[in-house]
Symmetry: C2
Subunit: 273 residues, 2 copies
């Protein structure tokens, strides 16, 4: 029997893996080095689902995911909110005191005050769990990594301190990608992408369509078209399902005013617990 698989970016212990476990506790989780590898795993069907971070409440949008969404044929079929809880993690045989902290630059930025107070020199790496694994494999004793509790458990390391992030309202929103289209639940969100002609007031005329229908826009993001410098795709999240009548209306009106329109999917809104 084919066991379903979920692809995520990072090493085992990554926050994406923790998010995936909230929804798919019994499926096989496949780590991938790059976000692009995650999308390729979906396309070549070595994975049935992908869980990818789209936005963090402190750091904002994950640009690369927005770009990859533009080209995917898959649907957004769900969202997951995860509270980000950073731990300071070292080898059990570490020196005292520790003098350095390795982690992804975003995690470093989120623990900036803590690191300053503890006089820890921040050293940026490309991944949080990867920093912990590196400290383990190279048997580095005067440094710690900043990553999840799960990373410490997986690599058999000591948690020196838990909850070292400067701000506690640190959540990441993840999207679930798959072949599935979802039915309305009464509390849905719809995500889509449109490209406008480069002229004054073009964006304004689209936002008017939402405002006129009292549709709540929960996020707007712009990304470069990559074809012509400083021209953009706009990504919009709204409350509602694309089977709803007023959402169908607004989609039709945007279709007639935009160069392109891509509906990424409608899905049940996640909860921040």
């Amino acid at each position: 029997m084919h066991s379903k698989k979920v692809a995520f970016q990072g090493e085992h212990g990554a926050y994406s893996e923790i998010a995936a476990l909230k929804v798919f506790p019994d499926l096989e989780l496949i780590p991938k080095k790059l976000f692009q590898d995650v999308f390729e795993a979906l396309n070549d069907r070595t994975a049935d689902y992908a869980v990818v971070p789209i936005e963090n409440s402190i750091e904002g949008s994950v640009n690369e995911i927005y770009d990859l969404l533009l080209d995917t044929q898959k649907k957004v079929s769900g969202e997951i909110f995860l509270r980000i809880n950073h731990c300071l993690i070292a080898n059990f045989q570490h020196t005292s005191p520790i003098t350095k902290a390795y982690s992804h630059s975003q995690a470093i930025a989120q623990c900036r005050n803590y690191l300053r107070n503890k006089n820890l020199e921040p050293i940026p790496t490309y991944d949080t769990a990867g920093a912990v694994r590196m400290i383990k494999e190279k048997a580095i004793l005067d440094a710690a990594g900043i990553a999840s509790r799960r990373a410490a458990e997986i690599y058999g390391m000591e948690i020196l301190e838990d909850g070292i992030e400067d701000k506690k309202n640190n959540f990441t929103r993840f999207l679930i990608l798959s072949d599935n289209e979802t039915k309305p639940t009464g509390r849905d969100r719809t995500s889509f992408i449109f490209r406008l002609q480069h002229k004054p007031g073009a964006l304004f005329s689209i936002l008017r369509e939402f405002a006129d229908r009292q549709i709540n826009l929960t996020k707007i993001e712009s990304r470069p078209t990559k074809e012509k410098p400083w021209e953009y795709y706009f990504y919009v999240d709204i409350e509602g399902h694309c089977d709803d009548i007023n959402i169908k209306e607004v989609i039709n009106s945007i279709l007639s005013r935009s160069i392109s329109l891509n509906i990424l999917g409608s899905y049940k809104q996640g909860t921040m617990t």
Copy 2:
């Protein structure tokens, strides 16, 4: 005599340093590890100017700079456009063939097709010029770095190939920060930040102010407030100078509709040469 100093993020050979040299060829250039260090150098007056990347035509906005702009007392006093030209750089004694390529994940993404065609395994690091320096210092012979021509020259390395980026319309826009306020030149841009109440149509009502006055909005970006998850600051660039009458009008109308408004500065528009 005090020689004026310009702070930038990255190692010598970074693209930010190349941008700074276009405007300040005779000043002392000070490398800083983190963007935050660059802003601190301005604040404690160890630097007179800073040159920071705000947006790339392929990768989009540099989120961290947007956040740092929120808290700075300095003014945006200019912008610089730089064409990004990536080189594959190795030690002169390198093996043949090379099998790996180290660089910042953004540079890797921009050379994705090239790396695939050449069968080079990408390895993400935290900096472009830093990858070249690391390959030099560790005498790694089976790998190359992806960085600027200047990085190869500074570290005495061989350029295996020049112009390996997949798309040639790859420009980065940099901002110059200083204590200076600039006079109107007739071809200016103004940047500002506002925060809106979280209610449907709030952004729409602001964009109407620009549309009604035929003011061209060249960029809109949102960043999390970090106080309340999923509430945003909006960053807007418009054509014109804050001494212009219609710009003064629009600023007044936004003031009355927003929770906060911060004018980052008016400055001469850069040219993409």
